[in-house]
Amino acid sequence: MFLIEHHGKELLAPHGIPVPSGVFVTASGNLGHAPDGPLMIKAQVAAGGRGKAGGVLPAASRDEAARLIAGFDRAMLNGKTIHGFRIEQRVAFERETYVSLSIDAEAACLRLLVAAQGGVDVETQADTRSALTQPDQIENTARTLCDGLPPSVRNALIDVAPKLADLFQRYEALLLEVNPLFIRADGSWLIGDIKLVIDDNAIERQPAIHALLERHPDIYPESARKLTHGFDYVEVDPRGEIGLITTGAGLSMQLIDELKAQGRRPLNFCDIRSGQFRGDPARLIAVMRWIASRPSVRVALVNIFAGITDLAEFANLLVQAAQAVPELRVPIVARLIGRNLDQARQILASSGLTVTLEPDLDRAIALTLAALDGKDIRRG
């Protein structure tokens, strides 16, 4: 779960991590309690590189901020939806620096990364320093790492690193990046921008993150869906033409890659986990509704490689789900392979649904593409 900057700052501020005062406003909304004076307007998207993409603008006053937001004619930034804007007091600072904590998967510990000079070009700058560390070793690691940096930078980083590490642990973050960290003339520091990614698998035991998700399912649709439904569904192209009802993350990703390589537009990623249905069509119904809600979809492809799943049971659930979602009117190609395939074939054939069963995946893809091209793929 990639938190938008505003939520990241709201999460940190109560823990004694200073951030510039600011408010969240929607693109159409009024400025509410926004501060006045020199301001920054920051588009709220779950992606980095906002500054370079034109998503961060200075404004001299509230009035100018309102004008700039009203005139902001883009709904997306770097391919991500703009959920609104954070209107923030502009900060007078002497230096900008960079600090991040991440998980080093290979070493199975934390990585602390600092750069003397923060800002939009930090990825390409030469003087970045990083070290592996443990949560209780952060301060020592920071001391060693910052050796030789200008004193104000060094002091700020040694002060901020353990505080950030506490929050990294507390919220079970995967990435916590502060860029820039503003350092004022008096040596005090505050968070200019933050990128915070929380582990979706920890949300169950993270009440604050859980509450955030419940308030903003629109901003975090993937994480909200996973929490509510227990499986993964990601819309990759809102104007996609192929709905995917598939089990397995790797195979679903691979299908998307191969369909795109052929110039086709899959709507979604889906790892429905058919092994966890336990006789309930709820997950199938949910996916069919999401797919049906996109009028651009013209065919649905089901792919179930059943290791253990009984295909007869799956076919029954597929029929029940399709009957519960009559608004999904597109032809369905069902690639099923595994136990009780013949029974599944009979169940689908006698269901009255427009389902074409094909056990071979390449042929199922070919049928899907034929259906897109308007061909009648039903079999006798």
């Binding site: 990639f2 779950a46 992606a47 980095g48 770097n78 391919g79 991500k80 998980i103 998967a105 290979e106 199975a108 510990c109 990825e123 642990q169 079970e172 995967l174 990435l175 990614v197 582990d199 979706d200 698998n201 920890a202 169950e204 035991r205 993937e222 993964d232 990601v234 990759v236 089990t247 397995g248 993350a249 790797g250 195979l251 679903s252 990703m253 691979q254 998307i256 890659d257 191969e258 795109k260 390589a261 990623f269 790892d271 490689f305 059943a306 290791g307 253990i308 392979i337 595994g338 136990r339 395939l341 056990p359 995946l361 390449d362």
Partner: protein
């Protein structure tokens, strides 16, 4: 890495054997030929009735003392995996296969560190398991895709490995040892760690790698292959080349930030190590099938 743990007769227990999945897979594994010697149920109040002929114990320590188990299949809920791993390591289990999906990363950090400190081999979390086809399996790799043959298989994705191995099995090409690594970012055995095992193994004549975007495991594999002077052909496919940045695609490990972990970076690294990287399932199957030239193609009935 102790290669005797990857032999057909290794004695195995299941942690979480009394759960729905535990019971099912105990039977399926036993039927497949796995030397399943026991099960463990952690809850003090749970019944310890045997599952079929399989005795059930209250801890791994007890199970190991009574059965000489060396390997454990961990089938407990995500938030209980950390405790199950502690139990297994305290009991002296040397090979841990954790199939549970959705283990929090901060738990996984502790799990991996503990396994390393005990010099144990951890596969997963989030693995479908391992198999020596025709002899044994620990986990639930599907029988329809398992046939004995020359391929070593390592994979981040269960289903994509099922699909490819099934297609290859149809062409008469099976596997000598199949290790599902799982799609989690923080995991036990990584691709690179397994290189010496496959290098040593005479039955393995080529390696099939099913990778994914995110992390650096494929890049590290490339380094490990070069370091080991790996002498067998290696084939790879990388899922998620077109996945959007910053969004988790089912597997927590499949997450890209900036240019790190992209398919392009992995393809370049693997290519430089002599790996034949393919973009489509059809291409990799054709290349493997063409290179491995089976004695005769067989057609397996679909079960």
């Amino acid at each position: 890495m102790d290669s005797t743990l990857f032999e057909p007769n290794v004695p195995v227990i299941i942690q979480g054997i009394t759960g729905r999945a535990g019971r099912t897979h105990a039977q399926l594994m036993q039927r497949y030929g796995t030397n399943l010697v026991g099960g463990v149920v952690a809850s003090a109040s749970a019944a310890r009735d045997p599952i079929g002929s399989i005795p059930v114990f209250g801890s791994c320590r007890e199970a190991v003392a009574r059965t000489a188990a060396r390997a454990s299949l961990i089938m407990v809920p995500p938030l209980n995996v950390l405790a199950a791993v502690e139990d297994a390591l305290a009991g002296g289990i040397a090979l841990l296969v954790a199939v549970t999906e959705g283990v929090p990363v901060h738990d996984a950090l502790k799990i991996v560190q503990m396994a390393r400190a005990h010099d144990a081999i951890l596969i997963g979390p989030s693995t479908p398991g391992i198999a020596i086809p025709g002899r044994m399996k620990i986990g639930f790799l599907p029988d329809t895709a398992l046939i004995p043959g020359p391929l070593g298989v390592v994979s981040k994705s269960g289903t994509l490995s099922y699909e490819l191995c099934y297609r290859l099995a149809q062409r008469g090409i099976g596997q000598s040892l199949w290790i599902g690594g799982g799609g989690d970012p923080v995991k036990g055995a990584r691709f690179g760690d397994l290189v010496p095992l496959f290098q040593q193994r005479a039955e393995t004549r080529a390696l099939l790698v099913i990778g994914e975007i995110g992390g650096s495991e494929e890049e590290d594999l490339a380094d490990a292959l070069i370091r080991a002077r790996f002498s067998k052909p290696v084939f790879a496919i990388l899922a998620g080349a077109t996945a959007p940045e910053g969004v988790t695609m089912g597997h927590a490990g499949a997450l890209i930030h900036g240019t790190r972990g992209t398919a392009a970076s992995k393809t370049a690294a693997l290519g430089a190590a002599g790996v034949r990287v393919h973009a489509t399932m059809r291409d990799i199957v054709e290349d493997v099938a063409g290179t491995m030239a089976p004695a005769a193609a067989i057609t397996q009935p679909v079960r």
